[in-house]
Amino acid sequence: MSPSADSDRPSLIHARGLTKRFGSFTAVDAIDFDVAEGESFGFLGPNGAGKTSTMRMIGCVSPVTEGTLRVLDLDPATDGARIRGRLGVVPQQDTLDTELSVRDNLVIYGRYFGMRRAEAGRRASELLEFAQLSERANDKVEPLSGGMKRRLTIARALINEPSILLLDEPTTGLDPQARHLLWERLYRLKQQGVTLVLTTHYMDEAEQLCDRLVVMDKAKIAAEGSPRELIERYSTREVAELRFPVGVQEGLDGQLDDLGERIERLPDRLLVYSDDGEAVVAAAHERGLRPQTVLVRRSSLEDVFLRLTGRSLVD
């Protein structure tokens, strides 16, 4: 497995043995990865896997403890401010100025990047349009909904036309409708060729947005590839989820084990991995097993994660 993507495209982020320690705690443990220009790259993993620490190092606000990190072919240790001038950052927690208007949040942020006031104002109008917030331009930030605040944060991160957009848990805490709206905006950016780097613990988000991703667990990278590749490599085409009445699952005594390539026992259900889920269900019925509910579905990144770590992504 090679950590580099297409070698003909320049690597915008290059990490080898990248490590972050806080005292005796190791948040990121010698990870390798490359992000190519125009790529949409994700860090998928549960809370505490080291995703945010990695993002903060890429964002040049957290010094690297050990290893190599180059961003835009510069060293964050010596050129942090220059690199940050070419990044757009959407932090996990909003850092909008709730005491300013929506528009002023964008304009003052443009000023941080040395833009002239008129230029920042023009750009703010374009981005308000993009974030579907033009009507709220002169409102205060405080009363905006969570989804609107998030869109404003993304708009703000685009003010300097960044070479890389860093998104740390972009949709955590949003309702489904707001998430889909946000994904749609991010998908547009992706199609425009913007290099996106995002962290998430939502597998559907990773599948929607990432060309390539690494699965992180306990400060390390467990696997790397496109969502499709990872599913093919670590899972079967389909999964049969069988839920039995309370107490029955424990008494099955391995009666299903030969039906699929692999079986996962979750507290409330069995997952049987097979390329033909319906056949698994039929075979179970032939053996006289009566699950309460049955669901046959395609494998997802959730299954990849389960296979790699023995745990669920969101617990």
């Binding site: 401010a81 940050r84 913007v194």
Partner: protein, 284 residues
């Protein structure tokens, strides 16, 4: 509207790698941080300026005119033979500016690090921790100078300025403000709430305000504890501002020089501490 307008991806080969990424001067960042404070002040300046006028008016009326008429009747020899109002006004200027700066070094700093996280937003952009600290300090200096200037206008209006030296009390007030605000900003960068601030205010600032020679000469304090005034930074600002306004600066030139040196040392030391703490708190 097309996204192409909202986002123009970088032209291939341009500003993607090293040499094309522009370098910016650190002061540009500090200016942007300062501008942010100005933008915030635009929302509240009317009430703030009104308060800055009202406070000296009330104090000079109550203490200077009201209490002063009693003091003057008893004879003002302890005050160097000047009317109490003129004795009080420049000192009160220094004290008031100092108090205001303590607020300016507390709430915006807590908001910057925790409540609103403005500093984190700035640091994610090309601003350095030093530029962020510089911008905040520049704003503290602006506010102190503004409060001192308004105070001076009121003092002149009351006829409480003995000489034109009152104008020099403005920079003395600002220097005193920095001597307090910079180290307090450094301390507040480590705090998550106002608990420590409340203690400082109750057990530090309020006693200082009362016993640093603003309302009566420190010579009136018992002899055994008079030396404490030298340790209390506010007294240096109070004594200096008063001497400038009363035109008595030449009476004790060495003491005056010592005032400037001590205030300057506190301001410089505090500023260094503030810059170091800002870097430590942001760069983790």
């Amino acid at each position: 509207m097309a996204v192409a307008e909202a986002f123009r991806p970088p032209r291939s080969g341009r500003h993607l790698t090293g040499p094309d990424v522009p370098r910016r001067h650190a002061l540009d960042g500090a200016r942007a941080a300062y501008e942010h404070q100005l933008l915030l002040y635009r929302r509240t300046w009317r009430g703030s300026i009104f308060g800055n006028f009202a406070q000296p008016v009330l104090f000079l009326l109550a203490m200077g005119v009201g209490l002063g008429s009693f003091v003057d009747r008893a004879g003002s020899s302890a005050m160097g033979g000047v009317p109490y109002l003129q004795f009080l006004a420049p000192a009160l200027l220094a004290s008031t500016v100092m108090q205001g700066s303590v607020f300016e070094a507390t709430f915006p700093v807590l908001a910057g690090f925790h409540w609103i996280k403005r500093y984190h937003a700035m640091y994610a952009a090309p601003l350095t921790p030093y530029a962020i600290a510089f911008g905040q300090l520049a704003w503290i200096i602006t506010r102190a100078t503004l409060v001192g200037s308004i105070f001076t206008l009121v003092v002149i209006g009351f006829g409480a300025a003995r000489t034109a030296g009152i104008l020099l009390a403005i920079p003395v007030g600002t220097l005193t403000a920095v001597a307090f605000a910079a180290p307090i900003a450094a301390l507040m960068s480590t705090q998550r709430d106002t608990a420590v601030f409340n203690s400082i205010w109750r057990f530090g600032i309020t006693p200082l305000f009362l016993f640093s020679g603003t309302f009566f000469p420190i010579e009136q304090l018992p002899e055994q504890i008079r030396w404490i005034a030298w340790l209390l930074p506010l007294w240096h600002g109070v004594d200096l501002a008063r001497a400038l306004s009363l035109g008595t600066i030449g009476d004790q030139p060495l003491v005056m020089l010592a005032h400037v040196v001590i205030l300057g040392a506190a301001a410089v030391g505090g500023t260094i501490a503030m810059f170091v703490m800002y870097r430590r708190q942001l760069q983790r």
